[in-house]
C-alpha cells in the first residue's frame, strides 16, 4: 500500500498538466500517487536513478559506500539487499530512507527510519540480513567455499516497502561481490601428520606471523576467518577437531587430544614461510578450551591468545584432553518456551569439574578475552572473571585484555555478517535448536569493534 509523501500542492501542479483525464481526483492521496506515478513513466521526461556501491568488490571486513542519485527530491525509497547462501536460501535486508533536496541518498551518512535496522548504519544491509519469509528455521550464514565471493544484489525501490510486499517498483540496482579472500592469498589443504585443516598464506615471500584458528563444537572445518587473516597479512591455519569425515572416530565426539593441537602448532612453526617465533592462537566457543590447553602446556610458546566466549575448562574432557559425548550430561541444559536449548549453565565455573580447569596463571603471553554479554551458549562473563582473577593473583594483569559487549551473543565473528540468535543444533533423534543470544544491532557493533581490536592485538604482539 502506498504512502503518499508528496505535498498536495505538488500533486495539483501535476494534475494541471495535460494528463488530467488519466486521473480521477478523489480525497484518497494513495490512489492519486499511483496514478501520478504512471503518468511519469509514460512521459518522455524520464527519471533515470543511479545506484552505486563502492567498492563493488570488497573484502568482508571492508565498508561499502552505497549511494543513490538522480531521484526525486524528499522522496521515500527503500534500499534492499538480497543474496543466496551456498545452501540456496534467500537472505534479505531492507531499510527506509528519504532523499534529500538534491534527490540523493547516502547510506554512509543518512538515517534509516524503518526496516531491518534504523539509524545511521552504513553496513546495515549486510549485518541485518535475515532468511526471507518462508525459509527453513534456524539458519546460520557461513561460507564454506572461500575462493568465491558472496554476490549481494542491492536494489532501490520506490516508496517505503519491504521485500515481502507484492507490488514494488525497482528503480535501480547494483551487484556487489563480498570476498573472504584477497587476490594472491594461497589456500592449501592440510592432511598430514594426522592434521585435518586448511592453511592460508598471504601473497609474497614471507616469512609471516601466523595464527592457529580454532572454532567451536559444531565442528567441521570453517575457513573464512583464516582466509581473512591471510588477506590481512597473517598466515593462518584452521583445524578441525571434531565433526569432520577425515578425522578418526565418530563425528559427534572429540577423538583428538592435546597431541593433535601440538602437531598443528608444530606444523606452523616448521613451515618455511611462517615466523616460528610469532604464532598466536585464536579460539571461539569450545575452541577456547584447546587454546588455553596449548598455552598452559609445556613446550608451547604462543605469542598471544585470543579467546572468544569460551570456558576455562570442560566437563567433557578426560585427563588426556579427549572429550566424552556432549549430550551425555544434560543436567544444566535450559529450555525456553519454544523448546530451544541454552547451554550457558554448563560452563558456569562452579559447574566445571575443578580438574578440567586450566592453570591460567601459567600463561606467559598476552591474552585477549572477548565477551558477548548476551551469550546464551557459554557463561562468558563468569569465565572471563575467573581468568582475570587468576592472572591478577599471579601479578600478570598487564597480560590480560577484556572486551565486553552488551547485547552481543555467542558467535562473535568477522564483521558485517548476520547475527544468528538461534540455529539448528542437531536433527537426531529429533530437531533441536540452540540459543546463541545476541540482538542484531549490538551484535553487529560488537563484531565490527572486536574485529578491529583483534587485528590490532595481532599486529602488536605478532608483528612488532
Amino acid at each position: 500500500m502506498f504512502r503518499a509523501h508528496m505535498s498536495v500542492t505538488r500533486i495539483w501542479q501535476l494534475i494541471e498538466k495535460r494528463m488530467m483525464s488519466c486521473i480521477s481526483v478523489h480525497g484518497k492521496l494513495p490512489g492519486l500517487q499511483r496514478a501520478v506515478g504512471e503518468v511519469r513513466r509514460k512521459s518522455s521526461f524520464r527519471q533515470s536513478p543511479l545506484l552505486t556501491a563502492t567498492p563493488v568488490r570488497a573484502l568482508i571486513d571492508e565498508q561499502i559506500s552505497i549511494k543513490g542519485r538522480f531521484l526525486s527530491q524528499n522522496y521515500p525509497v527503500t534500499v534492499c539487499a538480497q543474496m543466496h547462501s551456498e545452501e540456496g536460501d534467500l537472505w534479505e535486508a531492507f531499510a527506509h530512507y528519504t532523499t534529500n533536496a538534491s534527490g540523493s541518498i547516502n547510506l554512509t551518512s543518512d538515517h534509516s527510519v524503518g526496516g531491518s535496522y534504523v539509524g545511521c548504519e552504513p553496513m546495515g544491509l549486510f549485518w541485518a540480513l535475515e532468511p526471507a519469509l518462508g525459509s527453513r528455521e534456524g539458519l546460520r550464514l557461513r561460507k564454506r567455499n572461500v575462493e568465491t565471493p558472496y554476490m549481494v544484489n542491492i536494489s532501490l525501490l520506490e516508496g517505503h516497502t519491504s521485500p515481502s510486499e507484492g507490488q514494488r517498483t525497482e528503480l535501480a540496482a547494483v551487484t556487489t561481490e563480498r570476498w573472504y579472500m584477497a587476490p594472491g592469498v594461497r589456500r592449501i589443504e592440510i592432511r598430514q601428520n594426522n592434521i585435518v585443516g586448511t592453511l592460508f598464506l598471504p601473497p609474497g615471500p614471507g616469512p609471516f606471523p601466523a595464527m592457529l584458528d580454532l572454532w567451536g563444537m559444531v565442528g567441521g572445518l570453517l575457513e573464512y576467518r583464516s582466509a581473512l587473516f591471510a588477506s590481512r597479512g597473517f598466515a593462518s591455519l584452521s583445524v578441525a577437531y571434531m565433526g569432520h569425515k577425515d578425522l578418526p572416530g565418530p563425528q559427534h565426539i572429540m577423538s583428538v587430544g592435546d597431541s593433535y593441537f601440538k602437531s598443528a602448532f608444530q606444523l606452523l612453526q616448521d613451515h618455511c614461510q611462517v615466523d616460528a617465533d610469532r604464532i598466536g592462537v585464536i579460539g571461539l566457543s569450545y575452541g577456547v578450551v584447546p587454546t588455553l590447553r596449548i598455552a598452559t602446556t609445556i613446550g608451547f610458546k604462543p605469542s598471544c591468545l585470543i579467546c572468544i566466549n569460551g570456558a576455562v575448562g570442560s566437563p567433557l574432557l578426560d585427563e588426556d584432553g579427549k572429550s566424552k559425548m556432549f549430550e551425555s550430561d544434560q543436567k544444566h541444559w535450559e529450555f525456553d518456551d519454544r523448546g530451544y536449548v541454552s547451554f550457558r549453565n554448563v560452563s558456569l565455573p562452579d559447574n566445571l569439574p575443578p580438574e578440567s580447569k586450566r592453570k591460567v596463571e601459567n600463561i606467559t603471553c598476552p591474552l585477549m578475552y572477548i565477551v558477548g554479554e548476551d551469550d546464551l551458549c557459554t557463561a562468558s562473563t563468569e569465565n572471563a572473571d575467573v581468568i582475570e582473577e587468576a592472572l591478577r593473583s599471579a601479578g600478570k594483569s598487564h597480560q590480560f585484555t577484556r572486551l565486553s559487549y552488551p547485547g552481543a551473543g555467542h558467535l562473535i565473528e568477522p564483521p558485517y555478517t548476520p547475527c544468528s540468535r538461534a540455529s539448528l543444533w542437531k536433527t537426531k533423534p529429533e530437531k533441536l535448536f540452540t540459543l546463541w543470544g545476541g540482538h542484531p544491532a549490538p551484535h553487529a557493533a560488537a563484531q565490527e569493534d572486536a574485529w578491529k581490536r583483534i587485528l590490532e592485538f595481532m599486529e602488536t604482539h605478532l608483528r612488532r
Partner: protein, 397 residues
C-alpha cells in the same frame, strides 16, 4: 633472538575498477630506509610490463605511495597511481607494444612488490608483495554480442531494471574491436555499444550513414535504454564518425557527443579509405551540430593535426555555447581511460595496404597520463550532466 619481521605491503582496494585509485602502503620498514616499489603485469599477449619508483621510509618505517614522493625510477614526485600509468615493457621486450585488454570479463592482475634499496633492486628478492585486480567490468554488467540488421559489435548493459541512458562507442583504426571502454561505461551506469565498423567487409561496401544510423537505432530501441538519452562517444577516427553523424544525419539525434582526438580538417588527398563515404564530400561545418559536444585533444598529438582547426570552426560555427573543449599540453593521440600506460609510438597495420609500421601517437608520459585522468573524470561528468540529470522541465506532463 627473533629475526626481523618483514615489512607489510598492502594495496587498498585490492579489487578495483580500472578508473579507481588505490593506496599502496608499506609498513614495518626500518626508519629512513631506501626501498623501491615495483609493479609487474603480464599482458594477454604474454609481454611483461613494469613500473617502479624509489622511496625512503619515514620515521615510523612507513612508505605511502599516495603521500610520499618518488625520487627516481619511471616516475618522480607524488604519484599515487604512478605504478600503473608509467608502466613500460620490461627490458628485452619486443618493440612498439601497446597494452590493451581484450577479454574484459577477467581482471588485469598487477603484482606490486617492495624491494630494498634503489640501484639494482631487481637483483634482490622482494621483501613483500601483493596482488591487485583491476577490472573493466563491474559485477552484474551483462556483455552481449550483437549481430543484428547487419550491424556488429558488443553491447554492455548495467545491472538493474533500467531503463538507462546509453552510448554509441567508436574507436579508431588499427585495433580491432575494443570493448574495454564500453565495459567501463556500463560499470558507470550507461548501456554502451562498442561498434565494429572497420573490418574490411565494411570498407569495401557502401558504408554510408546507414550502418551507423542503424547501430544508433538498435541502441535507441533497446528496451533497457531511454530513447532520448543516447549519446555518442568516439575517439580518433571514431570521433570523426561521431561528428559527421551528429551534423548530417536526418534520422538520429544524439543527446550529446564526446570526440576524443578528432580532426575536423580534411587535407586534400585524404588518407581515409576509399569507399568510406561517410567521411568524404562533406564540408566540416560546425554549425550543423545541435547538441552539446565535448572535444578532448592532446596538444602533442602526432597522428592528426587537431587542435589548430577547432578554434577556427568554433568561430565560424556560431555554436560556441554547445561546445566544451579540453586541450592538454604534452598529451598525445591515444587518450584512454585513466591509469593505463602511455604509448608514444606503437605498431600499427595500415588497413588497406596491410603494411606494418610504427605509428607515432605523440605525448609525453607524465602529461599524457594526467590528461587521461583529468579527461576521463570530465567526460563522465559531461555524460552525467547530459544523460542522467533531469533537464529543466519542458516535459509534456
Amino acid at each position: 633472538m627473533t629475526q626481523a619481521v618483514p615489512p607489510i605491503l598492502s594495496v587498498t582496494p585490492s579489487r578495483a575498477l580500472v578508473d579507481e585509485k588505490f593506496q599502496v602502503l608499506v609498513e614495518n620498514l626500518p626508519p629512513g630506509c631506501p626501498v623501491t616499489l615495483r609493479s609487474l603485469h603480464r599482458s594477454e599477449d604474454e609481454d611483461d610490463w613494469e613500473a617502479y619508483g624509489h622511496y625512503v621510509s619515514d620515521h615510523r618505517g612507513v612508505v605511502s605511495v599516495s603521500e610520499d614522493l618518488s625520487f627516481g625510477g619511471m616516475y618522480t614526485g607524488k604519484e599515487p597511481m604512478g605504478l600503473l600509468w608509467s608502466m613500460r615493457p620490461v627490458p628485452g621486450s619486443r618493440k612498439g607494444l601497446r597494452l590493451r585488454k581484450i577479454n574484459v570479463c577477467t581482471p588485469m592482475l598487477v603484482n606490486i612488490s617492495v624491494h630494498s634499496g634503489h640501484e639494482g633492486f631487481r637483483d634482490r628478492t622482494p621483501l613483500a608483495s601483493a596482488l591487485a585486480e583491476r577490472w573493466y567490468m563491474a559485477p552484474g554488467v551483462k556483455r552481449i554480442d550483437i549481430n543484428k540488421q547487419g550491424v556488429q559489435g558488443t553491447l554492455f548493459i548495467p545491472p538493474g531494471p533500467g531503463p538507462f541512458p546509453a552510448l554509441l562507442d567508436m574507436w579508431g583504426g588499427g585495433a580491432g574491436l575494443l570493448e574495454y571502454r564500453s565495459a567501463l561505461l556500463a560499470s558507470r551506469g550507461y548501456v554502451s555499444f562498442s561498434l565494429d565498423y572497420l573490418r574490411s567487409e565494411h570498407l569495401s561496401a557502401d558504408v554510408e550513414f546507414k550502418y551507423f544510423e542503424t547501430a544508433f537505432n538498435i541502441i535507441r530501441n533497446h528496451p533497457q535504454v531511454i530513447p532520448d538519452r543516447v549519446g555518442i562517444l568516439g575517439s580518433s577516427l571514431g570521433s570523426m564518425v561521431a561528428f559527421n553523424l551528429t551534423a548530417y544525419s536526418t534520422i538520429i539525434k544524439p543527446r550529446c557527443i564526446v570526440c576524443i582526438s578528432s580532426n575536423h580538417y580534411h587535407p586534400p588527398g585524404t588518407t581515409l579509405k576509399a569507399g568510406f563515404k561517410i567521411l568524404s564530400n562533406r564540408t566540416n561545418d560546425l554549425s550543423k551540430i545541435n547538441c552539446p559536444m565535448l572535444l578532448v585533444n592532446g596538444c602533442d598529438d602526432q597522428n592528426w593535426p587537431t587542435v589548430e582547426t577547432v578554434a577556427r570552426l568554433l568561430r565560424e560555427g556560431g555554436k560556441e555555447h554547445l561546445l566544451s573543449r579540453l586541450a592538454y599540453p604534452g598529451a598525445g593521440h591515444l587518450i584512454e581511460p585513466p591509469f593505463s600506460p602511455h604509448f608514444r609510438a606503437t605498431k600499427f597495420i595500415i588497413l588497406n595496404s596491410k603494411e606494418k609500421v610504427i605509428l607515432l601517437w605523440g605525448g609525453h608520459t607524465k602529461p599524457h597520463s594526467d590528461a587521461q585522468e583529468d579527461s576521463w573524470r570530465k567526460i563522465l561528468s559531461f555524460l552525467q550532466l547530459h544523460l542522467y540529470h533531469s533537464p529543466s522541465v519542458k516535459a509534456n506532463l
